[in-house]
């Protein structure tokens, strides 16, 4: 769950408490452990207390206190808002140029622009969809499965915070931050359909997929009243700090379905299809790593200590996975490759995503190390054994990494980091709440099921309307020329 509450409000309550103590010695000491709701009660009852103690100065002190209260809130809002705007920009950077370069380098030269264009097109498409209905379907209303239309056309989304989600930043910031997640998620799927999917089919599929798979999942996990929401009254409280289920399982599993439905690329696996520029992929992966700080630490929805914790966990998870993938490769092939190292880092970032705001640095190292090895086995062994052509390993990295991360979050989550179930209540298995692993499993199963069924149905529909796959001769010629009428490299002109 995106932070929610306790730590951000907690700071505010401390601030108000300090002011009251200074202004009014007779007031009872305000315990630091007061809950967020009592903070609100204190700030409104303060003038009454003052009136009883010092009647003649009441109105002056009252005004001063109210002004201070306002200033404190404004200061926190400014700080949180600054961080969240930067985070939103960082997450957009993950799609373009991050993912576009990462995937762009992995395809053959003739398909470079096509795969980059798919990511870029989603930046535009999903943004418009988000403004019209997307935000409302994810974060409007309070149904168990999908939101409503109360924020359609961004009605009511302005400078005031939405206290259900992020009480200290303008709802407009929250809205645009969440948009960036909706942009990158479908873009991840293009890794599986690379080098053979029609552009028209991609556009139609992604629009439908966003509505049918992403919006309900985002609402179920993060939306108020959602079935899986851990902080806002979900039936199966699933911990997903920044999108292990919503982003990575949903896209990864859908990617697998797409790869199976579309079939292999012509010539696969006999014909060599090596990445055309690992330099591009390398730059892309590094941008993804940096952007991921916005993705995970930004999911604290405030600039407090939880953001620091998530930032650190993210970094450690990525590093551990880069090492463990490289080590596995070194042992198996006798060399550690650059592609292996960057793939490992991405796998670690995926796996730490649901856990980022719930675990400390040491569990982050463990989660990353496990994810690196498992994802290495997925793309080298499992893919070959089953023979599906997940061209750029969207399933192997995001599906597998997201699933591992979601389950391990249930093991390692700690109330010390994020007391999401209330003060004093254990969060994850090692914290003493092994039932959480079961909750995580429910979340994982629902995300898998939604992605599997939704994607299957949508692929059938899109196949009837625009078609999914380019003709064989277009695939040979390359999608850059046949789908877009241009080439990535015209070096001799």
């Amino acid at each position: 769950m995106k932070c929610r509450g306790s730590s951000c409000r907690f700071r505010l309550s401390l601030g108000i408490g300090t002011i009251l103590l200074a202004a009014l010695p007779v007031a009872p000491p305000l315990a630091a452990e007061q809950t967020p709701s009592s903070a609100a009660a204190v700030s409104s009852s303060a003038p009454v207390l003052l009136a009883a103690a010092l009647p003649e100065q009441t109105s002056v002190t009252n005004d001063k206190l109210m002004q201070l209260d306002k200033d404190v809130k404004a200061a926190q809002s400014s700080a949180d808002n600054a961080w969240m705007l930067v985070s939103a920009a960082l997450v957009l950077m993950m799609t373009g140029p991050g993912l576009a370069l990462f995937y762009g380098g992995l395809v053959r030269r003739k398909n470079t622009l096509a795969i980059m264009m798919q990511s870029f097109a989603l930046m535009a498409l999903i943004t418009v969809m988000w403004a019209l209905v997307g935000y409302s379907l994810c974060f409007g209303g309070s149904g168990p499965v999908i939101g409503g239309f109360e924020h359609a056309f961004l009605r009511g989304v302005g400078a005031d915070p939405n206290p259900d989600y992020a009480g200290t930043i303008p709802q407009m910031t929250f809205m645009v931050y969440q948009l960036m997640f909706a942009v990158i998620t479908p873009a991840l799927i293009t890794g599986a359909t690379a080098e053979r999917m029609k552009f028209s089919g991609t556009v139609l599929f992604m629009v439908l997929w966003f509505l049918v798979v992403y919006a309900p999942l985002a609402h179920m996990v993060w939306g108020k009243g959602g079935l899986l929401n851990a902080a806002l009254g979900g039936k199966f409280p699933t911990l997903d700090f920044a999108g292990g289920t919503v982003v990575h399982i949903s896209s990864g599993v859908s990617a697998l379905v797409c790869a199976l439905y579309m079939g292999k690329r012509s010539g696969y696996p006999k014909q060599p299809m090596p990445p055309h520029s690992l330099v591009l992929s390398f730059i892309g992966a590094c941008l993804l790593w940096v952007g991921w700080f916005g993705f995970n630490a930004g999911s604290a929805l405030a600039a407090g200590s939880l953001a620091s914790s998530a930032f650190v966990a993210t970094h450690f998870g990525a590093a551990a996975a880069a090492l463990s993938w490289s080590a596995a490769e070194w042992i198996k092939n006798g060399r550690a490759s650059a592609l292996g190292a960057i793939s490992g880092a991405v796998a670690g970032l995926v796996a730490i995503t649901p856990a980022a705001g719930f675990v400390g640095p040491m569990p982050a190292l463990v989660i990353g190390a496990i994810a690196g090895v498992v994802c290495f086995a997925m793309v080298t062994k499992v893919k070959a054994a089953f023979g599906y052509d997940d061209a750029l390993d969207a399933f192997g990295v995001h599906g597998a990494g997201g699933t591992i991360g979601a389950l391990l979050t249930g093991v390692f989550a700690q109330q010390v980091i994020n007391p999401i179930f209330g003060v004093g209540k254990p969060v994850g298995g090692l914290d003493g709440h092994w039932g959480q692993v079961g909750n995580q499993l429910v979340g994982v199963v629902i995300a898998w099921a939604f992605a599997l069924v939704g994607t299957m149905v949508l692929l059938k529909i899109v196949d009837l309307v625009t078609g999914i796959r380019v003709p064989e001769e277009h695939e040979q010629e390359g999608l850059d020329i046949t789908q877009h009428g241009e080439e990535a490299y015209n070096l001799e002109t």
Binding site: T380, K381, D393
Partner: protein, 112 residues
């Protein structure tokens, strides 16, 4: 006149060129080519997928030489292009009937 074609390792090209300049070879045509003889190529591994790269990058030199220079040029290339390993390349010699300079229509060895 003889035409000399040599396919050599790209890594030896600079020393071959310098050595040829030292003995007075005035012109050559160079092409980047790919191919293989007895050399088997190498394997590359990308995320567990192995590819055998059997067409390797080579440099092809072409020049037409006056008869009196041929042996020295061949010796020079042999010396400067050799690494001693499989894949060092080959030299081919063939007779040339005529050469014509386009600018002033000179013919024969004068045109070289």
């Amino acid at each position: 006149m003889m035409k000399l074609e040599a396919v050599i390792q790209p890594s030896r090209f600079e020393s071959v060129k310098d050595a040829l300049r030292e003995i007075g070879v005035e012109g050559m045509t160079v092409t980047e080519v790919r191919g293989h003889g007895r050399q088997k190529g190498h394997t590359e591994v990308y995320r567990g997928r192995e590819y055998t790269v059997d067409l390797l990058p080579k440099i092809k030199l072409e020049m037409v030489l006056p008869d009196n220079l041929v042996n020295r040029v061949v010796d020079t290339i042999l010396k400067s292009a050799k690494t001693g390993k499989i894949g060092d390349g080959k030299i081919f010699l063939s007779r040339v009937d005529e050469a014509i300079r386009i600018r002033n229509e000179e013919r024969g060895e004068n045109a070289l």
